[in-house]
Amino acid sequence: MSKKSYEEINAKIKQGKAVVVTAEEVIDIAREEGLKSAAAKVDVVTTGTFGMMCSSGAFLNFWHTKPKMRMQQVWLNNVPAYAGIAAVDAYIGATELMEGDPANTRHPGHFRYGGGHVIEDLIAGKELQLRATSYGTDCYPLKKLEKTLTIDDLRDAFIMSPRNSYQNYNVGVNCADKTVYTYMGLLKPNMGNINYSTAGQLSPLLNDPYFRTIGVGTRIFLGGGIGFVCGPGTQHDHSGQRTTGGLPMGGAGTLAVTGDMKKMNSRYIRGVSMLGYGVSLMVGIGVPIPILDEDMLEFTCVTDADILSPVCDYGIKYPTGEPPELGYVTVAELKSGEVNFAGKCIPTAPLSSYPMAKEIATALKRWVSEGSFLLSRPAVLLPTVEGYERGE
């Protein structure tokens, strides 16, 4: 079997000679030319996803003030940021609500603005209101600060998200007899509709299902800029059930990611409001997959018809903590607009954007083709299925 190293692939990228295709284009190439010749030809396959990723946030540093301050409590546009770290550092989380938000007191709440929107507004270069208070110390006497700032006034601003880019994801349905408002959107009673959230065949971690090329230090597209994989995200699960083709049949792998917000583009990172649920952040991520050998090429040929996602009841079971899975459907069925499930024909709607996922995979393809984006060999790969030989 012919093999390529990271070094060989990067040398070709630098010369502008690498053959780079998206995770959808590669399917057709392999069909036409066969796996072997496709593997020899293609150097990099680019993936993309653009979906709601609640476990996201950003570290901000406001520069030292004069006189100095050990910020104890921090708000941006009235959204609290966590300030239990050093003097002028804070962490703004995607799902943080604005102070005084009525939340679900009048159900379903609207959640017009929150942490996700703060992150989007910073990246968009908008002005935000900073407010900070402190108890004052001998070294940090200032007790109160209010100012208007943009991202340019911050010393540092980087995304540091504990869990993004789920490998596969639940499909939401509601078995209860009343409408529920969930992070999977509005679900009508008695299985009236289905919402799903996956990039399917473009999904980064479904194109490398055993994480042969993704791990600590993998250079990625993050929010329109360049980011890196920090390691497995929280709840990364490599031990769950898989299809005969080796694809996980549930959430499975996740990524912790980081990247400089000052170089991001708010087209690819957006604050969102989920009726009755709260605020969150839609994040655009693209991971380049090096075609090290024929096996890697074959993995990237995954199609929507191969991917099984668990249909979960968000009306009764999910909230109580019972296993919510009712069965499985393919992503191809979900994308068709309706699925036959439990003897019913149920209309479907997506939550994550397929057109944007495609745009991200295409943008990353351009970056790599132009020679401006090199692939990095991970320092440590993500944990994989026990006994699976990755040839490290």
């Binding site: 709601m52 959107g185 839609m282 607009g337 997506p350 994550s352």
Partner: protein
């Protein structure tokens, strides 16, 4: 010419419940009020609740009389001075709204899964305005 003879071309939504579903509403509009109806969309649920999105043209006087008559029969009449608009720049193309839109005004093009909005089909139910995570759907009055 009196103002009442002005010709109008309006859009209305008629919402009805089970008892009214059998009534020949459209026939009545033509016969009694000389209006030209254009059924843009109609939907009746299994519980026999439903709505009719109608274009109506005729004289202003007849149009007004027809609306009153329909209301007297127990129909809920909403004339479409309100309009829903879609801000393409704010839209993330997620597609979530297509799952709540009852009229098919918001739908996904296949296979591209791009979101499309056809304002003429909209029945101004406000569902998308509530559900759109990106605040891309707006009510214009």
């Amino acid at each position: 010419m009196s103002i009442d003879n002005n010709m109008v071309d309006k859009k209305v939504i008629l919402r009805f419940t089970s008892e009214l579903v059998e009534q020949p509403i459209v026939y009545q509009l033509v016969k009694e009020f000389n209006l030209v109806p254009n059924i843009i969309r109609a939907e009746v649920s299994p519980e026999k609740k439903g709505y009719l999105l109608l274009g109506l043209s005729g004289t202003e006087a007849n149009y007004r009389r027809a609306l009153i008559c329909l209301q007297q029969q127990g129909l809920q009449v909403q004339s479409l001075v309100e309009q829903v608009s879609w801000d393409e720049h704010l839209c993330t193309q997620c597609g979530l709204c297509t799952g709540v839109c009852p009229s098919g005004a918001l739908y996904l093009e296949r296979p591209s899964l791009e979101v499309r909005f056809e304002g003429e089909k909209c029945v101004v139910c406000n569902m998308c305005i509530e559900a759109c995570p990106a605040h891309a759907m707006r009510l214009d009055v």
